[in-house]
C-alpha cells in the first residue's frame, strides 16, 4: 500500500507537551503531511545499458534460444521496493530473475513471458513487493532471457515500484525510514513451476488428447504461499490439482484451463491463498483438449517464508 499522505498527530505546546482538549480530556489532534511521503516516488527500473534487448532467434517455436542478460541496476540514491513487471516484445520469451545481493533465485525454472509480463494498463503485480535495501552501495537484479518464438525478438522490460530516497531526507526522517525498511524481510515473491520444466525453461509437450502430470514442489528451504495462477499454452486443456501426501483434490472434477488459469494481464486468483508447506508437492494432472500437441507452461505465483534457524 501507498504511504498515507496525511497523518493526524497530537498537537504540542512550545515546551513539547501534548495539548489536552479540556472538553474531551483527549489530546488535540492536528493534520499534517506525512514527513516520509515527500521522499517516496514511483519508479520505473530498466537496464541502464539495454532499454531494448534483441534476443537471438531460437531454433523454433517453443524452443529456447541462447540466454542473454538484463542487469537492472539500483543506484545508491535510495531503496527500491519492486511491485510489478511490465514489458513488450515482438514474440514470446522465457525469463528468470536472480538477486545476487541475497543470492536468491525468484523461481525454480525460467518462466514464460505471457505468465508474468504485463503492460502499463494491466501490470503484473508481484504477490508481494520485493524490497531492495541498497544500504551504502548499489543493488542489482539480473534477468536472463531466452527467445521462445523462433524469430529475432525485441524485448523491452521494466520493473515498476517505488524509490525511498532516505539518503536525501533530513536525518531524523532518514532514521525513521531505515528503521522501517532496514530490517530486511523474511518473505519474498516466488514463482513455482513444475519440476519437469527443463533448465532452459522449455517443456515437453502433452500429446494430442493425451495426459500428463506436473509436480509443483515447495522445496526444503521454505514454505510457499500461492496467490495466483497463470498459464501459457498452445491449446486448451483440463486439469485437476491434488496434494501428493494427502491425495486431497482441490477440485472433484477436471476444470477447463480457461476457468482456472489466467495470464499476466488477468491472473486467476484463488478464493484464498494456498499454503504448500516445505517438501510438499501438488500434482497437476492435465488432459489435452485441443486435439494437437500442446505446450503447457503453468506458473504459480506466491511468496516464500524463509525459516531462519
Amino acid at each position: 500500500m501507498s504511504f498515507a499522505s496525511f497523518v493526524r498527530v497530537p498537537k504540542r505546546d512550545q515546551q513539547g507537551n501534548v495539548i489536552i482538549d479540556p472538553n474531551t480530556g483527549r489530546p488535540v489532534e492536528g493534520l499534517g503531511v506525512n514527513p516520509i511521503k515527500p521522499h517516496v516516488r514511483s519508479y520505473w527500473l530498466a537496464d541502464p545499458n539495454n532499454a531494448t534487448l534483441v534476443l537471438a532467434a531460437s531454433a523454433g517455436l517453443n524452443q529456447a534460444g541462447a540466454p542473454q542478460q538484463l542487469n537492472f541496476l539500483i543506484d545508491s540514491q535510495g531503496h527500491f521496493d519492486w511491485a510489478s513487471i511490465v514489458g513488450v516484445s515482438t514474440g514470446v520469451f522465457l525469463l528468470e530473475f536472480f538477486d545476487p545481493g541475497t543470492n536468491r533465485l525468484l523461481q525454480n525454472a525460467p518462466i514464460h513471458s505471457s505468465c508474468i509480463v504485463g503492460v502499463g494498463a494491466r501490470q503484473f503485480r508481484l504477490p508481494e513487493p520485493y524490497f531492495f535495501n541498497v544500504g551504502d552501495s548499489q543493488r542489482q537484479l539480473k534477468c536472463t532471457l531466452r527467445d521462445l518464438s523462433g524469430a529475432s525478438n525485441t524485448v523491452r522490460l521494466n520493473l515498476i515500484g517505488r524509490r525511498i530516497y532516505h539518503k536525501e531526507a533530513p536525518p531524523d526522517i532518514a532514521l525513521d525510514l531505515q528503521r522501517i525498511f532496514g530490517m530486511g524481510s523474511r518473505t519474498y515473491s516466488y514463482f513455482l513451476l513444475p519440476k519437469t520444466t527443463k533448465n532452459d525453461g522449455t517443456v515437453t509437450p502433452v500429446s494430442a488428447n493425451g495426459t500428463a502430470s506436473f509436480e509443483f514442489e515447495s522445496d526444503a528451504s521454505a514454505d510457499t504461499e500461492i496467490q495466483k495462477l497463470m498459464v501459457a499454452s498452445t491449446g486448451a486443456f483440463s486439469f485437476t490439482l491434488r496434494e501428493r501426501d494427502t491425495n486431497r483434490l482441490l477440485m472433484p472434477n477436471a476444470v477447463h484451463s480457461q476457468n482456472g488459469f489466467g495470464n499476466a494481464e488477468f491472473p486467476f486468483f484463488w478464493a484464498d491463498t494456498y499454503l504448500i508447506e516445505r517438501q510438499k508437492q501438488v500434482i497437476m494432472d492435465v488432459t489435452d483438449l485441443s486435439g494437437e500437441e500442446n505446450y503447457i507452461y503453468p506458473v504459480m505465483a506466491g511468496r516464500r517464508l524463509q525459516e531462519i534457524p
Binding site: 499522505s5 492536528g30 516516488r41 503492460v119 494498463a121 531524523d172 494481464e265
Partner: protein, 347 residues
C-alpha cells in the same frame, strides 16, 4: 456511541439472515465504498438496517446527444441535477462516433468562489478520464466498446456536487477532434444523497459526511500545452501543479496517435521517475484500464514535472497525457511537516 437514527423496529429484520450477527461493520459510511446495508450498533452489538442506505441511490447524469461539426468546440453544456440531494460522482463514461474522440473541460459553477471550481487544468482527452473507447491488450487482445461499461474509469477521488447554495450543475465543454462531424455523449455516474427527503438526524449525518470531503476533490492534470511530436521527434512538455493545494497523483492515462517513449523528471530536483525512457504503454494506461501508481505520489504546491517524450511511430504523433490526481487543500496552520519530536502547533 449509539447510532442516533437507528430505528429499533428494524432490529428484528436481520434475525432472518444467517450470519447477520457476525462480521458487520459499525461504520455507517466508508469513503469510496457502497453504503453498508446492515451495520452493527456499536453500543448494543445488534445488527440494524443502516438508515443512510434508504436515502442514497445510484444515479447517472448524462448529456443529451450532442452533434459536433468537424473540429467544433461546443458551448458550455450544463449537466444539471435537481435540488433533492447531493450528487457524489465516482465514474465517467462516454460515446463517440469517431475514433479520434473529443476533449472535455469540466467545472462546477456552484463552487465558484469556494476555490474548487475546475476539475482539470486544461482540456483533456475524453478517453483518458472516462470509459467508452474499448481497449486492446497485448496478451488478452481487443476488449470491445460494448464491454466498456464493465471497465468504468473510477476517478481518483469521488467528487461531491453540492446541490445546496444554488449548485447542482456541472458545466462541460467539448471539442471534436475529428475532421468529420461527431455524435457524442458524456455521462457522470455516482450516487445521490437525498438529504432533503430524509429525517433530520439522517440529513445531518449526510451533511456531516459531505463536509468531511470539502477539502479534497479529484483533479486531472494534462500537459500545459498541446503536444504534437514530429516523426521520431522529441518534446519536453511540462505539467505544473497549482499553488493552491497539495496534489496526490494516483493514476496515469494517455491517448496518442502512435507509440512514444517518456521519461518523467521532477523539474526542480531533477529527480527522475525512470532512468531510461519507458515506452508509453508501459508507463501509462487508458481511461478504461489506467496505470495505477503503486505509490500515490504527493507533490507540494507549485511542483512541476517535465515529460521528455520521443516519438516511436515515425509519423506525426499527437499525445494526450492525463494524470489522475486528487487535490488536498490544507489549512495553512496545518501544513508544517511533522517530524519526529515535533508536530503542528509546536514552534
Amino acid at each position: 456511541m449509539k447510532i442516533p437514527y437507528a430505528n429499533p423496529d428494524l432490529w428484528k429484520r436481520p434475525k432472518a439472515t444467517p450470519g447477520a450477527y457476525r462480521d458487520f461493520t459499525t461504520h455507517d459510511y466508508i469513503p469510496g465504498q457502497a453504503i453498508p446495508t446492515w451495520i452493527k450498533d456499536p453500543e448494543t452489538g445488534i445488527v440494524v438496517v443502516n438508515e443512510l442506505k434508504r436515502y442514497v441511490k445510484p444515479f447517472q447524469l448524462s448529456t443529451e446527444t450532442i452533434t459536433l461539426a468537424a473540429n467544433e468546440v461546443s458551448d458550455w453544456v450544463p449537466m444539471t441535477v435537481d435540488g433533492k440531494g447531493h450528487f457524489e460522482i465516482f465514474d465517467a463514461f462516454f460515446t463517440s462516433q469517431r475514433t479520434e474522440g473529443f476533449t472535455v473541460e469540466l467545472f462546477d459553477p456552484g463552487n465558484l468562489g469556494s476555490e474548487r471550481p475546475m476539475l482539470m487544468n486544461r482540456e483533456v482527452h475524453v478517453a483518458t478520464i472516462a470509459s467508452g473507447n474499448g481497449t486492446t491488450l497485448p496478451l488478452t487482445g481487443a476488449l470491445p466498446v460494448t464491454s466498456s461499461p464493465g471497465r468504468p474509469f473510477r476517478w481518483p477521488q469521488a467528487f461531491f456536487l453540492n446541490v445546496a447554495d444554488g449548485g447542482g450543475t456541472i458545466m462541460a465543454r467539448f471539442r471534436n477532434l475529428s475532421s468529420s462531424s461527431n455524435i457524442i455523449r458524456f455521462v457522470l455516474s455516482g450516487r445521490r444523497w437525498y438529504h432533503l427527503q430524509a429525517p433530520w438526524p439522517i440529513a445531518n449525518r449526510m451533511e456531516e459526511i459531505f463536509r468531511e470531503h470539502a477539502r479534497t476533490f479529484p483533479y486531472f492534470f494534462t500537459t500545459d500545452a498541446f503536444v504534437s511530436l514530429s516523426a521520431l521527434g522529441t518534446a519536453s512538455p511540462i505539467i505544473r501543479f497549482g499553488d493552491d493545494a497539495y496534489v496526490e497523483w494516483a493514476k496515469g492515462m494517455s491517448f496518442s496517435t502512435g507509440l512514444y517513449t517518456a521519461r518523467i523528471v521532477e523539474t526542480t530536483t531533477k529527480k527522475r521517475l525512470m532512468e531510461q525512457p519507458v515506452r508509453s504503454d508501459l508507463c501509462f494506461g487508458t481511461g478504461e484500464l489506467p496505470m495505477l501508481n503503486w505509490e500515490a505520489m504527493l507533490f507540494e504546491p507549485n511542483y512541476q514535472l517535465t515529460f521528455e517524450l520521443t516519438d516511436l511511430s515515425n509519423g506525426a504523433n499527437t499525445v494526450w497525457i492525463t494524470l489522475g490526481c486528487r487535490k488536498i487543500k490544507l489549512d495553512p496552520r496545518e501544513i508544517e511537516l511533522i517530524r519526529p519530536g515535533t508536530s503542528p502547533g509546536r514552534e
